[in-house]
Structures are given as C-alpha cells and as structure tokens.
C-alpha cells in the first residue's frame, strides 16, 4: 500500500478527479493548501508583484531579514504562496503507477507550478465500518 500526495493546480482539480475515477482511484481526501516550490513561489514581473502588495487576498510579500539568512544560502527575491489543491490517496501497490500517470497526464502544462507527487509507504489501512484491514480495506465494498 502506498499513500500518494499530489499537489496540483486548483483549476485542474475537477479534471484530475475525473481522470482518477477512470482508472479506479476515486477515493481521496482533498485539502486546499498554500505552498511554493523551489522557485520560491510566483515568478512575477515587477508589475505583478506591485499589484500583490495591494491585493487584500494575496499574502504580503515579506523580504527575508538578513539575520535569518544562513551562510552560503542565496535569496533572489521575496516570495508569496500559491494556492494549491492537495490530494491524498491510499492505494494498493498495483494502482500506484496508473494513478501517477493519470495525474501527470492531466496536470502537465510544462510551466512552473504544475505541482509535485510524493509516494509514501503505508503500514496499515482499516475501514471503520467493516473492520477490514490492509488491501481489503482499499478494495472491499
């Protein structure tokens, strides 16, 4: 059993859900999260970053104070968070690759911010209603 974490664009969420339904991986938990990747959030033009300063819904740009910068680390520009959807699925081993392919196919645009998929090991799964354990819990009716 594996746990799949897919951090994807919000606007691709519905399409991703349908694609996952098609390969039989419809069960998931969904969270709305804020995040950023190794590019440090938006790659913004000067004008856009000016705008973000005044948009009430956007998180404020805060430059990293110099005393917090570790030796050798480089900071290029202040960053903001990007709203994302986090899908969490626990799948039997044989469905993992199928689900990953489905997510990639829908979500790849080729631009920064397409998101990440993480695969974590899971020790046990239990259906509360029936008490089924492990794979049975994922496949049972």
């Amino acid at each position: 059993m594996k746990e799949i974490w897919a951090i994807i664009r919000r606007e691709k969420y519905a399409e991703t859900k349908r694609a996952l339904d098609k390969v039989g991986c419809g069960a998931m938990s969904v969270h709305s999260v804020w995040g950023r990747g190794k590019q440090g959030g938006f790659i913004m033009s000067e004008a856009e970053s000016e705008l973000a300063l005044y948009a009430t819904s956007a998180p404020k740009l805060v430059p990293t104070p110099s005393y917090l910068v570790a030796e050798g680390a480089t900071i290029t520009k202040p960053v903001v968070y990007v709203p994302k959807k986090l899908l969490v699925m626990v799948l039997p081993d044989d469905k993992v690759e199928k689900a990953i392919e489905a997510i990639i196919e829908v979500n790849r645009t080729g631009h920064y911010g397409d998101g990440k998929i993480f695969v974590l090991p899971v020790e046990d799964a239990i259906t509360i209603r029936t008490g089924e354990r492990r794979e049975e819990a994922l496949t049972g009716g």
């Binding site: 995040g35 790849r108 974590l120």
Partner: protein, 105 residues
C-alpha cells in the same frame, strides 16, 4: 527523502518560513489545522479550549537535510511554553515533478 510535518504556532509561522527560506529551503506547503496535544487543549479559568489553531508545514527534503530543517524549525518555533508544537518525520519513497517527470527533488 523524508517528509517533515511541523505543527507550529500560527504566530510563529512567518518567522519559521523566512528562516527556512534563509537556510535554503524555500519549498513548502502549509495548512491551517485545529488540534490538541497531550495536555488536551487549553484551560483558562472555567473556559476550556478543546482544540487550538496550529499551522501545519509540510516539507519534503533529502535525507541529509532533515536535521538542518529540524534545527531551523526548533530554533524559531520554540517559546518554551506548552503548545509550541511537534515535528514528525516520515519516509518518502518517490517524488515526481509533474512538469518534467523528474523523479528527484
């Protein structure tokens, strides 16, 4: 690769995030969560807060960077009072960048 989950005080979020960025870890995901620890919430006089708001930071890092991330979080999230939060570290088997299909962080 390891997934570091840090439950921290909401008011410490910005300092921790900036310090992580300063230490070279800009990539993270954050969620607002409600929870309680082994003190079962907070009691102020007759008022009981069963659940308290926390910020959950999710950071996936290479194995060798885990201790660095931990120490940054510990240093900046610690006040010494109950409710500073917890850090959990779990293994991650695989990480895929959707844009490129890379299987590396």
């Amino acid at each position: 690769m390891k997934l570091v989950r840090a439950f921290i005080r909401p008011e410490k979020e910005q300092e921790v995030v900036l310090a992580l960025e300063g230490a070279g870890f800009p990539a993270l995901t954050k969620m607002s969560v409600m929870g309680r620890g082994k003190q079962k919430g907070l009691r102020v006089g007759d008022i009981v807060y069963e659940e308290l708001p926390k910020v959950l930071l999710l950071i996936v890092v290479k194995d060798e960077d885990v201790s660095k991330v931990e120490s940054v979080i510990l240093e900046h999230a610690r006040t010494g009072n109950i409710g500073d939060g917890k850090i959990f570290v779990s293994p991650v088997e695989k990480s895929i960048t959707i844009r490129t299909g890379e299987v590396e962080l």
